[in-house]
Symmetry: C2
Protein backbone atom coordinates (compact mmCIF):
# COMPACT_ATOMS: atom_id res chain seq x y z
CA UNK A 1 0.00 0.00 0.00
CA UNK A 2 1.22 3.45 -0.96
CA UNK A 3 0.67 6.48 1.27
CA UNK A 4 0.99 10.11 0.17
CA UNK A 5 1.85 12.89 2.63
CA UNK A 6 1.61 16.42 1.23
CA UNK A 7 3.43 18.96 3.34
CA UNK A 8 5.50 15.91 4.25
CA UNK A 9 8.67 17.97 4.70
CA UNK A 10 7.00 20.28 7.23
CA UNK A 11 6.90 20.27 11.01
CA UNK A 12 3.90 17.95 11.44
CA UNK A 13 4.36 16.17 8.10
CA UNK A 14 7.91 14.98 8.71
CA UNK A 15 6.95 13.67 12.17
CA UNK A 16 3.96 11.89 10.63
CA UNK A 17 6.22 10.29 8.00
CA UNK A 18 8.56 9.02 10.74
CA UNK A 19 5.60 7.64 12.69
CA UNK A 20 4.24 5.87 9.58
CA UNK A 21 7.65 4.34 8.90
CA UNK A 22 7.90 3.16 12.51
CA UNK A 23 4.39 1.74 12.51
CA UNK A 24 4.96 0.05 9.13
CA UNK A 25 1.28 -0.56 8.42
CA UNK A 26 -2.15 1.04 8.57
CA UNK A 27 -5.57 -0.47 9.13
CA UNK A 28 -8.14 -0.01 6.41
CA UNK A 29 -11.80 0.85 6.98
CA UNK A 30 -12.51 -2.82 7.68
CA UNK A 31 -9.84 -2.94 10.40
CA UNK A 32 -7.55 -5.06 8.21
CA UNK A 33 -3.85 -4.20 8.56
CA UNK A 34 -1.95 -3.30 5.34
CA UNK A 35 1.81 -2.99 5.05
CA UNK A 36 3.05 0.42 3.91
CA UNK A 37 5.30 -0.29 0.96
CA UNK A 38 5.87 3.30 -0.11
CA UNK A 39 5.44 6.79 1.38
CA UNK A 40 5.40 9.61 -1.11
CA UNK A 41 6.63 12.76 0.67
CA UNK A 42 5.40 15.73 -1.35
CA UNK A 43 6.26 19.29 -0.47
CA UNK A 44 7.13 22.58 -2.08
CA UNK A 45 10.75 22.23 -0.98
CA UNK A 46 13.16 19.95 0.85
CA UNK A 47 12.83 19.50 4.62
CA UNK A 48 14.99 21.52 7.04
CA UNK A 49 16.07 18.28 8.70
CA UNK A 50 16.79 15.31 6.44
CA UNK A 51 14.10 12.64 6.26
CA UNK A 52 14.92 9.17 7.60
CA UNK A 53 17.07 7.09 5.26
CA UNK A 54 14.44 4.50 4.32
CA UNK A 55 13.89 2.73 1.00
CA UNK A 56 10.10 3.17 1.40
CA UNK A 57 10.38 6.96 1.08
CA UNK A 58 9.90 8.60 -2.30
CA UNK A 59 10.27 12.41 -2.39
CA UNK A 60 8.53 14.83 -4.76
CA UNK A 61 9.40 18.50 -4.36
CA UNK A 62 7.48 21.14 -6.30
CA UNK A 63 4.13 22.94 -6.60
CA UNK A 64 1.32 20.40 -6.74
CA UNK A 65 -1.56 22.85 -6.97
CA UNK A 66 -1.21 23.20 -10.75
CA UNK A 67 -3.80 21.38 -12.86
CA UNK A 68 -2.59 17.87 -13.58
CA UNK A 69 0.21 17.97 -11.02
CA UNK A 70 -1.86 16.30 -8.29
CA UNK A 71 -2.39 13.18 -10.41
CA UNK A 72 1.36 12.66 -10.56
CA UNK A 73 1.47 12.17 -6.79
CA UNK A 74 -1.05 9.34 -6.87
CA UNK A 75 -0.58 5.81 -8.15
CA UNK A 76 -2.96 2.90 -8.51
CA UNK A 77 -1.97 1.44 -5.13
CA UNK A 78 -2.39 4.74 -3.24
CA UNK A 79 -4.83 3.99 -0.43
CA UNK A 80 -4.24 6.84 2.02
CA UNK A 81 -3.55 10.54 1.38
CA UNK A 82 -2.55 12.84 4.25
CA UNK A 83 -3.06 16.34 2.87
CA UNK A 84 -1.20 18.71 5.19
CA UNK A 85 0.27 21.14 2.63
CA UNK A 86 -1.00 24.70 3.01
CA UNK A 87 -0.06 28.34 2.81
CA UNK A 88 -0.08 29.48 6.45
CA UNK A 89 -2.53 31.90 7.98
CA UNK A 90 -0.56 35.15 7.74
CA UNK A 91 0.53 34.54 4.16
CA UNK A 92 -2.96 33.49 3.02
CA UNK A 93 -4.25 36.78 4.44
CA UNK A 94 -1.59 38.91 2.74
CA UNK A 95 -1.51 37.02 -0.57
CA UNK A 96 -5.18 36.22 -1.11
CA UNK A 97 -4.89 34.64 -4.56
CA UNK A 98 -1.97 32.45 -3.52
CA UNK A 99 -3.95 31.20 -0.50
CA UNK A 100 -6.96 30.42 -2.66
CA UNK A 101 -4.82 28.61 -5.22
CA UNK A 102 -2.88 26.46 -2.76
CA UNK A 103 -5.33 25.98 0.10
CA UNK A 104 -8.64 25.69 -1.80
CA UNK A 105 -7.85 24.81 -5.42
CA UNK A 106 -4.92 22.61 -4.44
CA UNK A 107 -7.13 20.53 -2.15
CA UNK A 108 -9.84 20.27 -4.78
CA UNK A 109 -7.39 19.12 -7.44
CA UNK A 110 -6.02 16.47 -5.10
CA UNK A 111 -9.59 15.33 -4.32
CA UNK A 112 -10.39 15.19 -8.05
CA UNK A 113 -7.21 13.21 -8.72
CA UNK A 114 -8.37 10.71 -6.06
CA UNK A 115 -11.52 10.05 -8.09
CA UNK A 116 -9.36 8.46 -10.78
CA UNK A 117 -7.92 5.83 -8.43
CA UNK A 118 -9.37 2.32 -8.72
CA UNK A 119 -10.37 2.46 -5.02
CA UNK A 120 -11.48 5.62 -3.17
CA UNK A 121 -8.57 6.42 -0.83
CA UNK A 122 -8.85 7.59 2.73
CA UNK A 123 -8.23 11.33 2.59
CA UNK A 124 -6.90 12.90 5.81
CA UNK A 125 -6.99 16.67 5.98
CA UNK A 126 -5.46 19.16 8.34
CA UNK A 127 -8.05 21.80 9.18
CA UNK A 128 -7.82 24.42 11.91
CA UNK A 129 -9.51 26.22 14.81
CA UNK A 130 -9.30 29.21 12.44
CA UNK A 131 -12.69 28.13 11.05
CA UNK A 132 -14.23 29.65 14.20
CA UNK A 133 -14.75 33.35 14.68
CA UNK A 134 -17.27 36.16 14.99
CA UNK A 135 -19.71 35.90 17.89
CA UNK A 136 -18.54 32.77 19.68
CA UNK A 137 -19.97 31.15 22.79
CA UNK A 138 -17.69 30.88 25.87
CA UNK A 139 -17.23 27.18 25.12
CA UNK A 140 -17.00 25.95 21.51
CA UNK A 141 -19.04 22.78 21.05
CA UNK A 142 -19.23 20.28 18.21
CA UNK A 143 -22.37 22.05 16.98
CA UNK A 144 -20.95 25.58 17.10
CA UNK A 145 -21.20 26.95 13.55
CA UNK A 146 -18.02 27.97 11.77
CA UNK A 147 -17.57 31.66 10.98
CA UNK A 148 -13.99 32.19 9.78
CA UNK A 149 -12.51 35.67 10.08
CA UNK A 150 -9.41 35.00 7.98
CA UNK A 151 -8.97 33.79 4.41
CA UNK A 152 -6.99 30.84 5.78
CA UNK A 153 -9.95 29.85 7.98
CA UNK A 154 -12.39 30.32 5.10
CA UNK A 155 -10.29 28.14 2.82
CA UNK A 156 -10.03 25.42 5.47
CA UNK A 157 -13.81 25.55 6.04
CA UNK A 158 -14.39 25.37 2.28
CA UNK A 159 -12.16 22.29 2.07
CA UNK A 160 -14.08 20.63 4.93
CA UNK A 161 -17.25 21.17 2.88
CA UNK A 162 -15.66 19.61 -0.22
CA UNK A 163 -14.34 16.63 1.75
CA UNK A 164 -17.78 15.98 3.20
CA UNK A 165 -19.39 16.02 -0.21
CA UNK A 166 -16.68 14.01 -1.98
CA UNK A 167 -17.03 11.44 0.83
CA UNK A 168 -20.82 11.37 0.56
CA UNK A 169 -20.46 10.77 -3.17
CA UNK A 170 -18.00 7.92 -2.48
CA UNK A 171 -15.12 9.64 -4.31
CA UNK A 172 -12.89 9.57 -1.22
CA UNK A 173 -13.23 8.37 2.36
CA UNK A 174 -12.48 11.74 3.94
CA UNK A 175 -11.54 12.68 7.48
CA UNK A 176 -10.73 16.30 8.40
CA UNK A 177 -9.18 17.20 11.74
CA UNK A 178 -9.43 20.71 13.18
CA UNK A 179 -6.11 21.22 14.94
CA UNK A 180 -5.65 23.26 18.13
CA UNK A 181 -2.54 25.48 18.45
CA UNK A 182 0.36 23.05 18.31
CA UNK A 183 2.98 23.47 21.04
CA UNK A 184 5.90 23.12 21.31
CA UNK A 185 7.00 23.89 17.76
CA UNK A 186 10.79 23.69 17.31
CA UNK A 187 12.79 26.34 15.43
CA UNK A 188 12.94 30.08 15.97
CA UNK A 189 10.24 32.63 16.85
CA UNK A 190 8.55 33.95 13.70
CA UNK A 191 6.00 36.57 12.68
CA UNK A 192 2.97 34.33 13.27
CA UNK A 193 0.63 35.67 15.95
CA UNK A 194 0.78 32.26 17.65
CA UNK A 195 4.57 32.16 17.63
CA UNK A 196 4.81 33.12 21.31
CA UNK A 197 2.81 30.04 22.39
CA UNK A 198 5.72 27.77 21.53
CA UNK A 199 8.45 30.37 22.12
CA UNK A 200 7.62 30.92 25.81
CA UNK A 201 8.38 27.23 26.40
CA UNK A 202 11.05 26.51 23.79
CA UNK A 203 13.35 29.51 24.27
CA UNK A 204 13.74 29.46 28.09
CA UNK A 205 14.52 25.73 28.02
CA UNK A 206 17.37 26.57 25.64
CA UNK A 207 18.68 29.36 27.88
CA UNK A 208 17.22 32.26 25.87
CA UNK A 209 15.08 35.10 27.17
CA UNK A 210 11.76 35.58 25.37
CA UNK A 211 9.09 38.25 25.27
CA UNK A 212 5.46 37.20 25.87
CA UNK A 213 3.23 39.73 24.07
CA UNK A 214 -0.02 38.79 25.82
CA UNK A 215 -1.36 38.73 29.39
CA UNK A 216 -0.30 35.74 31.48
CA UNK A 217 -3.86 34.68 32.18
CA UNK A 218 -4.90 34.39 28.53
CA UNK A 219 -6.14 30.89 27.77
CA UNK A 220 -4.97 28.92 24.73
CA UNK A 221 -6.29 25.63 23.31
CA UNK A 222 -3.20 23.52 22.69
CA UNK A 223 -2.08 20.07 21.56
CA UNK A 224 1.40 18.56 21.34
CA UNK A 225 3.11 17.41 18.11
CA UNK A 226 3.07 13.83 19.45
CA UNK A 227 -0.70 13.92 19.97
CA UNK A 228 -1.49 15.51 16.62
CA UNK A 229 0.55 12.85 14.80
CA UNK A 230 -1.22 10.21 16.91
CA UNK A 231 -4.51 11.86 15.96
CA UNK A 232 -3.82 11.56 12.23
CA UNK A 233 -2.84 7.89 12.57
CA UNK A 234 -5.98 7.22 14.62
CA UNK A 235 -8.17 9.13 12.14
CA UNK A 236 -6.76 7.10 9.24
CA UNK A 237 -7.63 3.80 10.90
CA UNK A 238 -11.14 4.49 12.15
CA UNK A 239 -13.92 2.77 10.20
CA UNK A 240 -15.88 5.07 7.88
CA UNK A 241 -19.03 4.46 9.96
CA UNK A 242 -17.39 6.24 12.92
CA UNK A 243 -17.59 9.50 10.94
CA UNK A 244 -21.18 9.39 9.72
CA UNK A 245 -22.44 12.36 7.71
CA UNK A 246 -19.88 14.78 9.18
CA UNK A 247 -16.32 14.08 8.13
CA UNK A 248 -14.85 16.89 10.23
CA UNK A 249 -13.94 16.71 13.89
CA UNK A 250 -12.38 19.15 16.34
CA UNK A 251 -9.42 17.42 17.98
CA UNK A 252 -9.40 17.44 21.77
CA UNK A 253 -6.83 19.71 23.39
CA UNK A 254 -6.25 21.33 26.74
CA UNK A 255 -6.81 24.94 27.78
CA UNK A 256 -3.68 26.44 29.28
CA UNK A 257 -2.63 29.99 30.07
CA UNK A 258 0.89 31.36 29.86
CA UNK A 259 0.80 31.40 33.68
CA UNK A 260 0.12 27.63 33.59
CA UNK A 261 3.05 27.24 31.22
CA UNK A 262 5.38 29.11 33.59
CA UNK A 263 4.20 26.98 36.53
CA UNK A 264 4.98 23.87 34.49
CA UNK A 265 8.42 25.21 33.51
CA UNK A 266 9.16 25.70 37.23
CA UNK A 267 8.00 22.16 37.94
CA UNK A 268 9.78 20.40 35.05
CA UNK A 269 12.87 22.64 34.97
CA UNK A 270 13.36 25.47 37.48
CA UNK A 271 12.21 28.92 38.56
CA UNK A 272 15.30 30.31 36.78
CA UNK A 273 14.12 28.86 33.47
CA UNK A 274 10.62 30.30 33.97
CA UNK A 275 12.09 33.73 34.75
CA UNK A 276 13.48 33.93 31.21
CA UNK A 277 9.95 34.82 30.07
CA UNK A 278 9.37 38.61 30.18
CA UNK A 279 5.99 40.26 29.57
CA UNK A 280 5.67 43.14 27.14
CA UNK A 281 2.08 43.45 25.88
CA UNK A 282 1.87 43.97 22.11
CA UNK A 283 -1.57 45.44 21.22
CA UNK A 284 -1.42 44.04 17.67
CA UNK A 285 -0.81 40.45 18.85
CA UNK A 286 -3.21 40.88 21.79
CA UNK A 287 -6.05 41.86 19.46
CA UNK A 288 -5.59 38.74 17.36
CA UNK A 289 -4.99 36.28 20.18
CA UNK A 290 -7.83 37.51 22.41
CA UNK A 291 -10.17 36.69 19.47
CA UNK A 292 -9.15 33.02 19.47
CA UNK A 293 -11.44 30.49 21.10
CA UNK A 294 -9.65 28.94 24.10
CA UNK A 295 -12.20 26.52 25.52
CA UNK A 296 -13.79 23.64 23.66
CA UNK A 297 -16.01 20.73 24.60
CA UNK A 298 -14.59 18.35 21.99
CA UNK A 299 -16.96 15.55 22.94
CA UNK A 300 -17.29 14.03 19.50
CA UNK A 301 -13.57 13.43 18.96
CA UNK A 302 -13.10 12.20 22.52
CA UNK A 303 -15.94 9.74 21.91
CA UNK A 304 -14.20 8.62 18.72
CA UNK A 305 -11.05 7.78 20.68
CA UNK A 306 -8.90 10.85 19.98
CA UNK A 307 -6.72 11.76 22.95
CA UNK A 308 -5.48 15.10 24.26
CA UNK A 309 -2.36 15.65 26.32
CA UNK A 310 -2.87 15.14 30.07
CA UNK A 311 -1.43 18.53 30.92
CA UNK A 312 1.16 21.08 29.87
CA UNK A 313 3.83 19.35 31.98
CA UNK A 314 3.55 16.26 29.77
CA UNK A 315 3.87 18.45 26.65
CA UNK A 316 7.04 20.11 27.97
CA UNK A 317 8.59 16.78 28.98
CA UNK A 318 7.88 15.36 25.51
CA UNK A 319 9.47 18.43 23.89
CA UNK A 320 12.64 18.03 26.00
CA UNK A 321 12.79 14.35 25.07
CA UNK A 322 11.96 14.68 21.34
CA UNK A 323 13.64 17.95 20.39
CA UNK A 324 16.31 18.74 23.00
CA UNK A 325 17.79 15.26 23.38
CA UNK A 326 16.60 15.13 26.99
CA UNK A 327 18.64 18.21 28.01
CA UNK A 328 17.54 21.75 28.83
CA UNK A 329 19.63 24.75 29.93
CA UNK A 330 19.36 25.11 33.72
Amino acid sequence: MRVVVTGGAGFIGSRLVSALLAQGSLKDSNCIEHEITQICVADVGEPLQPLPDDRRIETRYGDFSDPGAAQQLLQRDTRVVFHLAAVVSGQAEQEFDLGMRINLDGTRRLLDACRELPQPPRFLFSSSVAVYGGDMPAVIRDDTPVCPQTSYGSQKAGCEMLINDYSRKGYVDGRALRLPTIVVRPGKPNAAASSFASAVLREPLQGTEVICPIKADTGLWVLSPRRVVGGFLHAASLPAEAWGVNRTVMLPGITVSVADMLDALREVASARVAERVKFEPDPFIEKIVYGWPATFAAERSTGMGFVADQNITEIIEAFIEDELGGQYVE
Copy 2:
Protein backbone atom coordinates in the same frame (compact mmCIF):
# COMPACT_ATOMS: atom_id res chain seq x y z
CA MET B 1 -26.21 52.64 -12.05
CA ARG B 2 -26.01 49.26 -13.76
CA VAL B 3 -27.45 46.12 -12.17
CA VAL B 4 -26.63 42.56 -13.23
CA VAL B 5 -29.06 39.68 -12.66
CA THR B 6 -27.67 36.22 -13.43
CA GLY B 7 -30.38 33.63 -13.85
CA GLY B 8 -32.40 36.67 -14.87
CA ALA B 9 -34.52 34.67 -17.32
CA GLY B 10 -35.59 32.20 -14.62
CA PHE B 11 -38.63 32.01 -12.38
CA ILE B 12 -37.32 34.24 -9.56
CA GLY B 13 -34.88 36.19 -11.75
CA SER B 14 -37.45 37.43 -14.27
CA ARG B 15 -39.76 38.55 -11.44
CA LEU B 16 -36.85 40.34 -9.78
CA VAL B 17 -36.03 42.11 -13.06
CA SER B 18 -39.64 43.29 -13.35
CA ALA B 19 -39.58 44.51 -9.75
CA LEU B 20 -36.31 46.39 -10.33
CA LEU B 21 -37.76 48.04 -13.45
CA ALA B 22 -40.87 49.05 -11.54
CA GLN B 23 -38.91 50.37 -8.59
CA GLY B 24 -36.51 52.23 -10.91
CA SER B 25 -33.83 52.80 -8.28
CA LEU B 26 -31.94 51.12 -5.46
CA LYS B 27 -30.50 52.53 -2.26
CA ASP B 28 -26.77 52.14 -1.74
CA SER B 29 -25.13 51.17 1.56
CA ASN B 30 -25.38 54.79 2.71
CA CYS B 31 -29.15 54.84 2.07
CA ILE B 32 -28.73 57.12 -0.97
CA GLU B 33 -31.10 56.32 -3.83
CA HIS B 34 -29.53 55.63 -7.26
CA GLU B 35 -31.43 55.42 -10.53
CA ILE B 36 -31.13 52.09 -12.34
CA THR B 37 -30.01 53.01 -15.85
CA GLN B 38 -29.37 49.49 -17.08
CA ILE B 39 -30.26 45.92 -16.04
CA CYS B 40 -28.12 43.20 -17.56
CA VAL B 41 -30.20 40.02 -17.70
CA ALA B 42 -27.76 37.12 -17.97
CA ASP B 43 -28.88 33.54 -18.36
CA VAL B 44 -27.98 30.36 -20.14
CA GLY B 45 -30.96 30.74 -22.47
CA GLU B 46 -33.89 32.96 -23.29
CA PRO B 47 -36.81 33.23 -20.83
CA LEU B 48 -39.96 31.14 -21.33
CA GLN B 49 -42.03 34.32 -21.10
CA PRO B 50 -40.67 37.41 -22.87
CA LEU B 51 -39.05 40.02 -20.63
CA PRO B 52 -40.72 43.44 -20.38
CA ASP B 53 -40.10 45.69 -23.38
CA ASP B 54 -37.89 48.25 -21.63
CA ARG B 55 -34.89 50.17 -22.99
CA ARG B 56 -33.05 49.64 -19.68
CA ILE B 57 -32.84 45.87 -20.27
CA GLU B 58 -29.76 44.39 -21.89
CA THR B 59 -29.78 40.60 -22.41
CA ARG B 60 -26.79 38.25 -22.45
CA TYR B 61 -27.51 34.59 -23.10
CA GLY B 62 -24.76 31.99 -22.76
CA ASP B 63 -22.53 30.13 -20.28
CA PHE B 64 -20.88 32.64 -17.94
CA SER B 65 -19.00 30.13 -15.83
CA ASP B 66 -16.10 29.96 -18.30
CA PRO B 67 -12.93 31.82 -17.29
CA GLY B 68 -13.12 35.38 -18.54
CA ALA B 69 -16.83 35.25 -19.36
CA ALA B 70 -17.90 36.74 -16.02
CA GLN B 71 -15.94 39.95 -16.67
CA GLN B 72 -17.99 40.56 -19.79
CA LEU B 73 -21.15 40.86 -17.70
CA LEU B 74 -19.71 43.63 -15.56
CA GLN B 75 -19.02 47.22 -16.53
CA ARG B 76 -17.44 50.09 -14.64
CA ASP B 77 -20.81 51.41 -13.45
CA THR B 78 -22.05 48.01 -12.18
CA ARG B 79 -22.96 48.57 -8.53
CA VAL B 80 -25.22 45.61 -7.75
CA VAL B 81 -25.01 41.97 -8.84
CA PHE B 82 -27.86 39.56 -8.14
CA HIS B 83 -26.34 36.11 -8.66
CA LEU B 84 -29.25 33.68 -8.98
CA ALA B 85 -27.94 31.42 -11.76
CA ALA B 86 -27.43 27.81 -10.66
CA VAL B 87 -27.72 24.22 -11.72
CA VAL B 88 -30.66 22.89 -9.68
CA SER B 89 -30.45 20.35 -6.91
CA GLY B 90 -31.29 17.18 -8.82
CA GLN B 91 -29.01 17.96 -11.73
CA ALA B 92 -26.10 18.98 -9.46
CA GLU B 93 -26.44 15.60 -7.76
CA GLN B 94 -26.53 13.63 -11.01
CA GLU B 95 -23.92 15.68 -12.87
CA PHE B 96 -21.39 16.42 -10.15
CA ASP B 97 -18.75 18.16 -12.28
CA LEU B 98 -21.34 20.37 -13.97
CA GLY B 99 -22.71 21.42 -10.58
CA MET B 100 -19.22 22.23 -9.30
CA ARG B 101 -18.41 24.20 -12.44
CA ILE B 102 -21.57 26.30 -12.52
CA ASN B 103 -22.52 26.56 -8.85
CA LEU B 104 -19.09 26.87 -7.21
CA ASP B 105 -16.58 27.94 -9.89
CA GLY B 106 -19.14 30.17 -11.62
CA THR B 107 -19.80 32.07 -8.40
CA ARG B 108 -16.09 32.39 -7.67
CA ARG B 109 -15.36 33.73 -11.15
CA LEU B 110 -18.11 36.31 -10.81
CA LEU B 111 -16.74 37.32 -7.38
CA ASP B 112 -13.24 37.62 -8.86
CA ALA B 113 -14.56 39.71 -11.75
CA CYS B 114 -16.15 42.04 -9.16
CA ARG B 115 -12.68 42.71 -7.71
CA GLU B 116 -11.76 44.48 -10.93
CA LEU B 117 -14.59 47.03 -10.66
CA PRO B 118 -13.62 50.53 -9.49
CA GLN B 119 -16.06 50.19 -6.55
CA PRO B 120 -16.85 46.91 -4.73
CA PRO B 121 -20.42 46.07 -5.80
CA ARG B 122 -23.15 44.72 -3.60
CA PHE B 123 -23.29 41.01 -4.36
CA LEU B 124 -26.64 39.32 -3.69
CA PHE B 125 -26.63 35.54 -3.68
CA SER B 126 -29.39 32.98 -3.72
CA SER B 127 -28.52 30.23 -1.22
CA SER B 128 -30.82 27.50 0.03
CA VAL B 129 -32.17 25.52 2.99
CA ALA B 130 -30.27 22.65 1.31
CA VAL B 131 -27.21 23.72 3.34
CA TYR B 132 -28.88 22.02 6.33
CA GLY B 133 -28.89 18.28 6.86
CA GLY B 134 -27.64 15.41 8.96
CA ASP B 135 -28.61 15.46 12.63
CA MET B 136 -30.82 18.53 12.83
CA PRO B 137 -32.60 19.96 15.86
CA ALA B 138 -36.44 20.13 15.76
CA VAL B 139 -36.18 23.89 15.13
CA ILE B 140 -33.38 25.28 12.94
CA ARG B 141 -31.92 28.43 14.50
CA ASP B 142 -29.56 31.05 13.16
CA ASP B 143 -26.70 29.29 14.95
CA THR B 144 -27.52 25.78 13.68
CA PRO B 145 -24.43 24.57 11.81
CA VAL B 146 -24.76 23.72 8.13
CA CYS B 147 -24.28 20.08 7.13
CA PRO B 148 -25.34 19.70 3.49
CA GLN B 149 -26.34 16.24 2.28
CA THR B 150 -26.42 17.09 -1.41
CA SER B 151 -23.78 18.47 -3.77
CA TYR B 152 -26.10 21.41 -4.46
CA GLY B 153 -26.24 22.22 -0.75
CA SER B 154 -22.46 21.82 -0.41
CA GLN B 155 -21.87 24.16 -3.33
CA LYS B 156 -24.24 26.75 -1.90
CA ALA B 157 -22.55 26.51 1.52
CA GLY B 158 -19.14 26.85 -0.14
CA CYS B 159 -20.31 30.00 -1.95
CA GLU B 160 -21.60 31.47 1.34
CA MET B 161 -18.09 30.96 2.74
CA LEU B 162 -16.51 32.70 -0.26
CA ILE B 163 -18.95 35.61 -0.08
CA ASN B 164 -18.18 36.11 3.61
CA ASP B 165 -14.46 36.19 2.97
CA TYR B 166 -14.63 38.35 -0.17
CA SER B 167 -16.80 40.77 1.84
CA ARG B 168 -14.41 40.76 4.81
CA LYS B 169 -11.56 41.55 2.40
CA GLY B 170 -13.60 44.42 0.91
CA TYR B 171 -13.73 42.87 -2.59
CA VAL B 172 -17.54 42.84 -2.63
CA ASP B 173 -20.31 43.86 -0.25
CA GLY B 174 -21.93 40.44 -0.12
CA ARG B 175 -25.36 39.33 1.09
CA ALA B 176 -26.47 35.70 0.79
CA LEU B 177 -30.09 34.68 1.37
CA ARG B 178 -31.03 31.10 2.23
CA LEU B 179 -34.36 30.57 0.49
CA PRO B 180 -37.19 28.39 1.84
CA THR B 181 -39.17 26.24 -0.62
CA ILE B 182 -40.79 28.74 -2.99
CA VAL B 183 -44.51 28.23 -3.61
CA VAL B 184 -46.42 28.64 -5.83
CA ARG B 185 -44.10 28.07 -8.80
CA PRO B 186 -45.91 28.37 -12.15
CA GLY B 187 -45.46 25.87 -14.98
CA LYS B 188 -45.87 22.11 -14.99
CA PRO B 189 -44.98 19.46 -12.38
CA ASN B 190 -41.40 18.25 -12.85
CA ALA B 191 -39.05 15.62 -11.46
CA ALA B 192 -37.86 17.75 -8.54
CA ALA B 193 -38.67 16.24 -5.15
CA SER B 194 -40.24 19.56 -4.14
CA SER B 195 -42.38 19.75 -7.27
CA PHE B 196 -45.52 18.62 -5.40
CA ALA B 197 -45.34 21.60 -3.00
CA SER B 198 -46.37 23.97 -5.78
CA ALA B 199 -48.33 21.42 -7.79
CA VAL B 200 -50.87 20.67 -5.05
CA LEU B 201 -51.88 24.34 -5.17
CA ARG B 202 -51.30 25.25 -8.82
CA GLU B 203 -52.92 22.27 -10.56
CA PRO B 204 -56.28 22.13 -8.71
CA LEU B 205 -56.77 25.89 -9.21
CA GLN B 206 -56.44 25.24 -12.94
CA GLY B 207 -58.94 22.37 -12.88
CA THR B 208 -56.39 19.54 -12.96
CA GLU B 209 -56.13 16.59 -10.58
CA VAL B 210 -52.76 16.11 -8.91
CA ILE B 211 -51.07 13.38 -6.87
CA CYS B 212 -49.53 14.33 -3.53
CA PRO B 213 -46.70 11.85 -2.84
CA ILE B 214 -46.31 12.63 0.88
CA LYS B 215 -48.46 12.48 4.01
CA ALA B 216 -50.89 15.39 4.46
CA ASP B 217 -49.45 16.34 7.85
CA THR B 218 -45.85 16.80 6.62
CA GLY B 219 -44.62 20.29 7.38
CA LEU B 220 -42.84 22.43 4.77
CA TRP B 221 -41.01 25.75 5.19
CA VAL B 222 -42.31 27.98 2.41
CA LEU B 223 -42.13 31.50 1.01
CA SER B 224 -43.97 33.10 -1.90
CA PRO B 225 -42.34 34.44 -5.09
CA ARG B 226 -43.51 37.95 -4.13
CA ARG B 227 -41.78 37.74 -0.74
CA VAL B 228 -38.55 36.30 -2.08
CA VAL B 229 -38.28 39.08 -4.65
CA GLY B 230 -39.06 41.58 -1.89
CA GLY B 231 -36.36 39.91 0.20
CA PHE B 232 -33.72 40.41 -2.49
CA LEU B 233 -34.65 44.07 -2.91
CA HIS B 234 -34.55 44.57 0.86
CA ALA B 235 -31.20 42.73 1.15
CA ALA B 236 -29.70 44.94 -1.57
CA SER B 237 -30.64 48.13 0.24
CA LEU B 238 -29.64 47.29 3.82
CA PRO B 239 -26.49 49.04 5.05
CA ALA B 240 -23.40 46.83 5.24
CA GLU B 241 -23.31 47.25 9.04
CA ALA B 242 -26.62 45.37 9.29
CA TRP B 243 -24.80 42.21 8.18
CA GLY B 244 -21.75 42.29 10.41
CA VAL B 245 -19.30 39.39 10.16
CA ASN B 246 -21.90 36.96 8.79
CA ARG B 247 -23.11 37.80 5.29
CA THR B 248 -25.62 34.93 5.16
CA VAL B 249 -29.13 34.95 6.52
CA MET B 250 -31.96 32.43 6.52
CA LEU B 251 -35.05 34.15 5.11
CA PRO B 252 -38.18 33.95 7.26
CA GLY B 253 -40.89 31.65 5.97
CA ILE B 254 -43.95 29.89 7.33
CA THR B 255 -44.41 26.23 8.21
CA VAL B 256 -47.38 24.71 6.42
CA SER B 257 -48.55 21.15 5.85
CA VAL B 258 -50.34 19.88 2.77
CA ALA B 259 -53.42 19.64 5.02
CA ASP B 260 -53.05 23.39 5.71
CA MET B 261 -52.79 23.97 1.95
CA LEU B 262 -56.01 22.03 1.31
CA ASP B 263 -57.82 23.98 4.05
CA ALA B 264 -56.69 27.22 2.39
CA LEU B 265 -57.79 26.01 -1.06
CA ARG B 266 -61.26 25.34 0.43
CA GLU B 267 -61.29 28.83 1.95
CA VAL B 268 -59.98 30.76 -1.07
CA ALA B 269 -61.65 28.60 -3.77
CA SER B 270 -63.89 25.66 -2.86
CA ALA B 271 -64.04 22.11 -1.47
CA ARG B 272 -64.29 20.89 -5.07
CA VAL B 273 -60.94 22.48 -5.94
CA ALA B 274 -59.32 20.95 -2.83
CA GLU B 275 -60.68 17.51 -3.77
CA ARG B 276 -58.57 17.52 -6.93
CA VAL B 277 -55.59 16.60 -4.70
CA LYS B 278 -55.24 12.81 -4.34
CA PHE B 279 -52.80 11.10 -2.00
CA GLU B 280 -50.51 8.33 -3.25
CA PRO B 281 -47.43 8.03 -1.04
CA ASP B 282 -44.19 7.68 -3.03
CA PRO B 283 -41.47 6.18 -0.78
CA PHE B 284 -38.68 7.77 -2.88
CA ILE B 285 -40.10 11.29 -2.52
CA GLU B 286 -41.12 10.67 1.10
CA LYS B 287 -37.56 9.73 2.06
CA ILE B 288 -36.18 12.98 0.61
CA VAL B 289 -38.91 15.31 1.85
CA TYR B 290 -39.08 13.92 5.39
CA GLY B 291 -35.36 14.81 5.66
CA TRP B 292 -36.03 18.50 5.02
CA PRO B 293 -36.12 20.92 7.93
CA ALA B 294 -39.63 22.35 8.26
CA THR B 295 -39.41 24.64 11.27
CA PHE B 296 -37.05 27.57 11.64
CA ALA B 297 -36.63 30.37 14.14
CA ALA B 298 -35.38 32.90 11.60
CA GLU B 299 -34.86 35.61 14.21
CA ARG B 300 -31.89 37.27 12.60
CA SER B 301 -33.59 37.97 9.26
CA THR B 302 -36.80 39.06 10.97
CA GLY B 303 -34.75 41.48 13.07
CA MET B 304 -33.16 42.78 9.86
CA GLY B 305 -36.58 43.59 8.44
CA PHE B 306 -37.17 40.61 6.14
CA VAL B 307 -40.83 39.61 6.00
CA ALA B 308 -42.53 36.24 5.58
CA ASP B 309 -45.99 35.68 4.15
CA GLN B 310 -48.79 35.97 6.72
CA ASN B 311 -50.22 32.58 5.88
CA ILE B 312 -50.77 30.14 3.02
CA THR B 313 -54.07 31.82 2.12
CA GLU B 314 -52.19 35.02 1.24
CA ILE B 315 -49.76 32.99 -0.90
CA ILE B 316 -52.62 31.33 -2.84
CA GLU B 317 -54.42 34.63 -3.38
CA ALA B 318 -51.20 36.21 -4.70
CA PHE B 319 -50.72 33.28 -7.09
CA ILE B 320 -54.25 33.62 -8.47
CA GLU B 321 -53.69 37.34 -8.95
CA ASP B 322 -50.14 37.19 -10.39
CA GLU B 323 -50.24 34.01 -12.48
CA LEU B 324 -53.88 33.13 -13.20
CA GLY B 325 -55.12 36.62 -14.05
CA GLY B 326 -57.42 36.55 -11.01
CA GLN B 327 -59.33 33.47 -12.26
CA TYR B 328 -59.29 29.87 -11.05
CA VAL B 329 -61.28 26.88 -12.28
CA GLU B 330 -64.26 26.32 -9.92
